[in-house]
Symmetry: C2
Subunit: 409 residues, 2 copies
């Protein structure tokens, strides 16, 4: 993998102040999995009673760690738990050795922290097809255990980076019956230099007390409008993982019906999802694609993703070209219901096209001026029904080609 | 649109010698539809008795000319016919004016050549959303008629270019019962500089005598393994059109069951399809993606297209990087059936991965050496069944970004 040479122009100014979540402690070390001289393994220790929910890549060639997590998620347990993540090696497409390596790590973590092996969730991110040097990870477990610290979540965010140009975190605190409930999350994804996969890994922690099944249904539902609603280049990792842990440390019981908690968790998930797009390979523009007036929710998503994934739309955005003809093309090819003469297209608030043609009020200079902004909205109303959806993407630039073609990974 | 500055490195050495097809004559003029100082309208006059078949874009926002052709195709008629094509303006997303402009052109051609309007097929390619200046085309019809010439098919190939870096033609001649049957075709598509859509237009002529329904079923069948099996960037034009005309001029009756004719027509269609890929925007590599051992033909196509359209695979090819991990990723994300431990991947004849891991015989230097070639084969065997499919694509380079982002269209 290449060196991280500069930070995405869409990065936030600083990593946020993340609060302590009672019941979780973190540690990170330099284990030399692949990188030298940087932290590349993170451990999170979760108190007994913590509920853990997860969502994973749907890839048919998913990694050994993902397969292991999928077997473990969905079981209730009052025991302690752990999350262990390494950067530098994805342990994907490593044949039968993949599962052996994952088990070596999770068994060692279970023994070290005295938690059931079935409650140790692992992720691996980095190069594909190389055997995971799991002994380098297990050799560091005692050191990790000795360093466990409730305030060290920022180190976890650093350790899981591969080619990310910045560490990603988000937090929200709500009040329920006069008591604070906190949520803090970290993510990696869509890094800048010579990645294999731009794998997305997300770990979110809350001190809410929650039933596992409730947490899982909430996470699965919110995932659809957050992490499943972003795309950088339409390619899907073999390792994408989202884990959410509710420790109960606040003493506040929350159910899947708690509107304020749902909103706060949604906001943390959406903010982390947007940060992944903002670190999209070569990205210079952050683009929201909003589709309204669709015949069904599925149609709205299909149209929005067709626009967000179209190389011709994404290069037009990169070129600051208000090329609405390419948006028409993307709608046309998506396969979902559309009527040329009923749809309208807006760039921000600017009505560009309607009634099957360019709008009589549209001036090309207005569109061109709008496209120079760093944050853009492409809004299509299909005029067919009431369904809508929103997805987020970035532009397709020379930077993407440089990252993925000019360097050998 | 920008200037055509250089020819694709994948272009053939010269435009082929296309034979006269008895029953068709051609003309091309500079009508100034958009370009100055170049031929931009072509007319083909088809003798009475010519059978015409067609296949068109499935876009929901297809152009006025495509909609008009679709209404007309599929009717038997012994009358004469015509094909009229303009470059420079796609007459797409031009509202109600689109149909009006198309009818103005086809009515004028019908009157000029004394053929039924229902037998005049038109295409338009170029910018989207601008009204077609149809009077510039109709003003040139008498001049076109005066120039009609059975040998002028090469001028037709030139006139339909928009941003193509070379004119495209292909031909085959077979012998049936001691008599020659000829096929000649021209195409445009996937041009080099600042296109809006990379629209593909294809016109093929044969002097075989054929029932229209037979010709249509043959063309529809062969289209699936030729023009529908190519992709440059996964985007679909609003104007893609394939028309095949059988004049009967050879006096040789051919049915849909004629194996030699089917093979020859397939070869012309495949050669033209490959030429379109060879003129792919920014292309430096011609890539065949072959999927065998699939559970079904649909699965084979889905996997092949997932690989061929993956930006990460295409940039790896551009970078001459034997990055088989990205091929695994594309198979995994496609949604079609795959088993990580049963599939194998070959670059050309080089076995790269099998049994869920890199092959013990594979040497990275062999893969790297292979990828330096201009023509590449990526072969995936899924190990699940007997179905297979092949598609063709090109790499994704800085040239693509330059063409589509750096120039305002």
């Amino acid at each position: 993998m290449g060196e991280i040479t500069h930070v995405s122009p869409l990065a936030p100014e600083a990593f946020p102040d993340l609060p302590v979540i009672e019941g979780v402690s973190f540690a990170a070390v330099a284990a030399g999995v692949k990188y030298a001289d940087r932290k590349d393994v993170m451990l999170a220790h979760l108190a007994p009673g913590t509920a853990v929910a997860g969502v994973f890549t749907r890839s048919a060639t998913r990694s050994a760690a993902v397969l292991d997590c999928q077997e473990k998620i969905g079981h209730d347990s009052a025991a302690g738990a752990a999350i262990v993540v390494n950067a530098g090696n994805a342990n994907a497409f490593t044949g039968k050795n993949g599962a052996t390596a994952t088990k070596a790590v999770t068994n060692a973590v279970a023994a070290c922290l005295d938690v059931p092996e079935g409650r140790v969730f692992s992720s691996s991110t980095g190069v594909i097809g190389e055997p995971l040097p799991h002994d380098r990870i297990t050799a560091k477990l005692e050191a990790l255990k000795a360093q466990l610290d409730p305030t060290a979540i920022d180190q976890a965010a650093e350790a899981i980076r591969t080619t990310d140009t910045f560490a990603k975190g988000a937090t929200r605190t709500i009040e329920v019956d006069g008591k604070a409930v906190k949520i803090a999350g970290v993510a990696k994804g869509s890094g800048m230099i010579a990645p294999d996969m731009a794998t997305m890994l997300v770990y979110i922690f809350t001190d809410a007390a929650m039933q596992r099944a409730d947490l899982q249904s909430l996470v699965s539902e919110l995932n659809q409008s957050t992490f499943n609603a972003i795309t950088v280049d339409s390619d899907t990792s073999t390792s994408d993982t989202l884990l959410v842990a509710a420790t109960g440390g606040s003493g506040v019981e929350v159910t899947a019906d708690s509107a304020p908690f749902k909103q706060a968790l949604h906001d943390v998930m959406q903010e982390l999802a947007h940060l992944v797009v903002r670190d999209g390979e070569g990205a210079t523009k952050f683009v929201e694609v909003r589709v309204t007036g669709a015949a069904s929710a599925d149609d709205a998503r299909i149209h929005a993703m067709a626009i967000a994934n179209s190389p011709l739309v994404k290069t037009a955005v990169a070129g600051e070209d208000p090329n609405w003809g390419r948006v028409v093309m993307a709608i046309g090819k998506s396969g979902a219901a559309a009527d040329r003469d009923l749809l309208s297209i807006r760039f921000g608030d600017i009505l560009v096209a309607e009634q099957g043609w360019v709008s009589p009020t549209y001036k090309e200079e207005d569109g061109a001026n709008y496209m120079t902004q760093q944050e853009l909205l492409i809004h299509v109303d299909l005029g067919l029904g009431d369904a809508e959806d929103t997805v987020w993407t970035c532009d397709l630039t020379h930077g993407y080609i440089t990252i993925n073609a000019d360097y050998r990974s």
